[in-house]
Symmetry: C2
Subunit: 179 residues, 2 copies
């Protein structure tokens, strides 16, 4: 059976919607150019009822090989992954794929700025967590999740407002340009 | 009627395949991290025969709001659009969308490196053409195409080899880091 794809209302409720709205605001105010990368999809069959409106009739979601977002801020390359959890005490590591984490590490090694944006939705708190803290949890520690306590102490709470909804560039500015 | 989506053989024949292979080479040799952005697709209907293999049964290609490729090279943000033409004397401007060109201009203003990679496939020549030369053709000149002569004189011929197939970072290095 077929269901319509899930869409949310105009009031951004998901982390992704909040970030997308913030990015729109940053672009409109000429502060940064950061976009969500499209979801990679493997197209298998296409109908051409008219040349102008090709209809995809069979396709599959592919696993992303990189992160959710990238772009440029103050001349620097920015690259990050956004994750949301309902957990109250940790974020499970099975939310991440090895090649995503390797990509973030590589960006860091090439001089880019790379981090996670992690929302604890039940707690209504969203953190920026740098790649250098994140990578050891993924590859070295024998854990299945990153404790909230670690993110609280090594990460940064992201301020929220009407516009931008999630002012993560404020944190980026403080952490990567003034420390 | 339904047709299988077009796929090409292993020997990269299209410009996109050549760039993708070159990017793989650059990543493998740790020179740069540049990826093709996935084609944006509007998903309308999804079947869930099993949770693990969602099948998209209705979807449409969306117009990209940015360019084909972006990433990081030597700490700098890189963003470019690739276009191929069979024309021998010019590249038609109707190949480009206004928001793509605006995006490239914005990247340039934020301190990123932005350019076109243009292949004249009949001539078997591929050029890098900087955004600062490209933008006036799009917005100011009363032309429907950019003459090859302009690209020859203001752009740079990209060397080709076995690996990388299209060594555009060689040109990036010379033009943006040593001039
Ligand atoms: Mg995500
Ligand atoms: Mg293209």
């Amino acid at each position: 059976s077929s269901f319509p794809a899930i869409t949310h209302g105009k009031r951004g409720m998901t982390l992704e919607e909040d970030i997308n709205e913030s990015n729109k605001y940053y672009r409109a105010t000429n502060q940064a150019i950061i976009h969500k990368k499209p979801t990679p999809i493997q197209v298998v069959s296409v109908d051409y009822p008219q040349r102008s409106s090709a209809k995809i009739t069979e396709a599959y979601f592919k696993q992303p090989s990189t992160t959710d977002y990238n772009g440029i801020y103050r001349g620097k390359y920015i690259d990050f992954e956004a994750k949301e959890t309902k957990n109250k005490t940790s974020i499970p590591l099975n939310n991440f794929h090895t090649h995503q984490v390797e990509h973030m590490q590589a960006v860091h090694e090439h001089g880019g700025i790379s981090f996670l944006i992690v929302r604890f939705s039940t707690l209504q708190r969203t953190y920026l967590y740098d790649v250098t803290h994140f990578v050891p949890w993924f590859f070295q520690h024998q854990r299945k999740s990153i404790p909230l306590k670690a993110i609280e102490s090594e990460g940064y709470l992201i301020p929220e407002s009407y516009a931008p909804r999630l002012h993560y560039l404020q944190v980026v500015e403080d952490v990567y340009f003034h420390q």
